[in-house]
C-alpha cells in the first residue's frame, strides 16, 4: 500500500500510540483487501455503542484510546446506545446505566457527537459520490443505494479508526468497478406497505450473497420503504447496496431472479413467531423514524388513546424528535412513548421483562429472537397501532 509522508509518520508512531494504532488498523485492512492507498472521507459513523451489545470487553480499549488524547478529524456520529435518558434509564439498574454513560463519555472525549441514531443520513444532507466510513449496516445500504454516497460496511473498530484518521482504505464499493450490478431481480408482485418491503429484503439477503442487485418493480416506493428494504437486506446478506430499475445496464449479462407474491408471504410468516394479540411491546422505529414517518404515525393516531398496560414505543433520533415536536407532543398525549438514543434491538428489553414484540420492522423481527430473546409478530404500521388501541 502506498502511504503519503504524513501517513507514514503516523504509522511509525510520531503522533503517539493511539494515532498509530488507528493508522495500522486502516493500513492492514487495506492490505487485506488489496487497497493501494487511503482516501479521505467526509464522515464516519461508529456502531457498537450500546453496553448491551458491547459488554465489558471494549471498555478497556475505548478508555485507553480516549485518554491518549486522540480526536476525531471528520464529522463522526454514533449509533444508538442502550438507554434513553427520559424513560428507560429509570427502569434499568444504575449499574447498567453507569457503564453506558462511561462508554459514551469515552466517545465524547474523542469528539464523537451524541447523535445516537442508526439514521445519520437524516442529520445533514450528504453529497452524492462522497466517500464515507460507516458501520451500521442499514445506514450503509441506504447511503449507497438511496443517497448515492460510497461506503463499505465497516466494523465498529475500523469506523472508529477512520473517524480519528479521517481516511479509509480504497477497496470494495469505494471503487466504481465494484459497484456494478450482477443480478436482475424482478419483483412480480406489488408491495403494499413498509413491512412487505422489509420482507423482500430478508428474502433477497439470503440468496444474493455478495452480488449487487438491480431490483425491478419498486415503482412508487418511498424513501421510507427503501430504508426498510435496505435494513433487512443487510440483516440476512452481505450485499451493501442495490439499484432500482431504469439503470443503463446490459440486462442480458445479469443473472436473473424472480420474486413471487408467495416468497414475500413466506418471508413475512417466518418473521412471526408468536400469534399473541397482546404483545409486551409494540415497537415502531427500526431503523429510527424519519420526520415523515412521525407525521404519519401522529395522523394515524388522531385523538385515540393507547390502552392501559400496552407499551408502545416510537423510536427516533433526538434530532428528528426536536424537528417533529408538533407531532411528537400529539403522539405522547396518546400514551405512546417517543424514545430517542436507543431502540428495541440494542436496549435491554429482556431486563424489562419484554418477551413478545410486535413490530413493523422486518430487521427487528429477524434479530429480536436471538438478540433480545423475544418472540415476534411482524405487522404493518397500521395494524401495530390498531393493536395498541385495542389493548
Amino acid at each position: 500500500m502506498h502511504l503519503t509522508k504524513e501517513e507514514e509518520r503516523i504509522y511509525d508512531g510520531e503522533f503517539g500510540w493511539a494515532n498509530q494504532i488507528c493508522m495500522k488498523i486502516l493500513v492492514r485492512l487495506g492490505e487485506l483487501f488489496n487497497a493501494t492507498k487511503l482516501i479521505p472521507i467526509s464522515s464516519a459513523h461508529v456502531s457498537g455503542v450500546s453496553y448491551k451489545t458491547l459488554g465489558d470487553a471494549p471498555i478497556d480499549f475505548l478508555e485507553a484510546i480516549a485518554n491518549a488524547g486522540v480526536k476525531t478529524s471528520v464529522k463522526a456520529t454514533l449509533n444508538p446506545h442502550g438507554i434513553d435518558k427520559e424513560y428507560l434509564c429509570k427502569k434499568l439498574s444504575s449499574d447498567i446505566c453507569k457503564k453506558q454513560w462511561q462508554i459514551l463519555e469515552y466517545f465524547n472525549k474523542m469528539g464523537f457527537k451524541n447523535s445516537l441514531t442508526c439514521t445519520p443520513y437524516y442529520l445533514e444532507k450528504l453529497e452524492r459520490g462522497a466517500h464515507l466510513a460507516w458501520a451500521e449496516s442499514s445506514a450503509v445500504v441506504y447511503a449507497n443505494s438511496v443517497i448515492g454516497a460510497w461506503t463499505n460496511r465497516e466494523g465498529g473498530p475500523s469506523a472508529l479508526a477512520a473517524a480519528i484518521i479521517g481516511k479509509t482504505p480504497d477497496y470494495g464499493v469505494h471503487k466504481a468497478e465494484n459497484r456494478q450490478p450482477k443480478v436482475l431481480v424482478n419483483v412480480e408482485t406489488s408491495l403494499r406497505n413498509e413491512t412487505e418491503f422489509g420482507a423482500l429484503g430478508i428474502f433477497l439477503g439470503k440468496i444474493l450473497e455478495d452480488k449487487i442487485p438491480v431490483i425491478q418493480g419498486l415503482q412508487g416506493a418511498s424513501q421510507d420503504h427503501l430504508k426498510q428494504l435496505g435494513a433487512s437486506l443487510a440483516s440476512t446478506g452481505m450485499v451493501n447496496m442495490f439499484y432500482r430499475n431504469n439503470r443503463k445496464v446490459k440486462v442480458n449479462e445479469l443473472e436473473k431472479i424472480s420474486v413471487a407474491k408467495e416468497d414475500i408471504r413466506r418471508a413475512m410468516e417466518e418473521l412471526t413467531t408468536t400469534a399473541t394479540q397482546k404483545p409486551d411491546l409494540i415497537f415502531i422505529g427500526c431503523p429510527h423514524c424519519s420526520l415523515r414517518e412521525i407525521r404519519q404515525i401522529a395522523d394515524c393516531i388522531g385523538t385515540r388513546k393507547v390502552k392501559a398496560e400496552t407499551e408502545l414505543w416510537i423510536c427516533t433520533s433526538r434530532f428528528i424528535k426536536e424537528k417533529a415536536w408538533k407531532y411528537t407532543e400529539k403522539i405522547e398525549q396518546s400514551g405512546a412513548h417517543i424514545i430517542t438514543d436507543t431502540c428495541a434491538v440494542v436496549a435491554w428489553t429482556d431486563k424489562l421483562r419484554i418477551k413478545t414484540i410486535m413490530t413493523n420492522s422486518a430487521k427487528t423481527a429477524h434479530y429480536a429472537p436471538t438478540l433480545s430473546k423475544a418472540e415476534t409478530t411482524l405487522m404493518p404500521l397500521k395494524d401495530c397501532l390498531e393493536t395498541a388501541f385495542k389493548g
Binding site: I21, K24, I25, R28, L29, L32, S47, G48, T53, L54, G55, D56, A57, P58, D60, F61, A135, G155, G156, P157, S158
Partner: protein, 137 residues
Amino acid sequence: MQPITLKGRRIVEGQCKAEALVSKKPISFLGGVDPADGKIIEKGHELRGECVKDKVLCFPHGHGSTVGSYVLYSLAKKNLAPKAIINQTADPVVVVGAIIANIPMIDQIDIKQIETGDLVEVNACKGIVKILKRRES
C-alpha cells in the same frame, strides 16, 4: 525431528515460541471466548473449555461481531491473550483485534499441518511458522 517450515503472510509483526492450540472450526471472539479467563465458551465448539492464554492459536478464520476485536484487546490487558494467531484466511475482526492487542499474526497458513500440543516457533515479520516438535502422545 527436522523442523517443518510453513510460509504465510505477515499481518502483525512479532516473534514467539509456544505450544499450539488448533481449532478446525472458526472462532467468534464475541461470545465465543470469555474475556474474564480466556477460555473458549462457544456452545458445541471442539475446544470448549480450553484456555487461549500463551498459546499459538491456530484456526481457519474468525466470524461474528466486530466487537470481537475488542475482546482480544481485553484478553491482552489481562495477560490472557494467545502468544500468536495463525489463520488460514485473515478476516477483519481478527486482524483488527491482533493489531490493537499487539499479538503477532500470520495468515495463509495450511493449519491442518499443525496439531494441538505441537511446539511451534512463529516469526511473523517473515510470515514463517516452524513446527519444532510434535506433541508427545
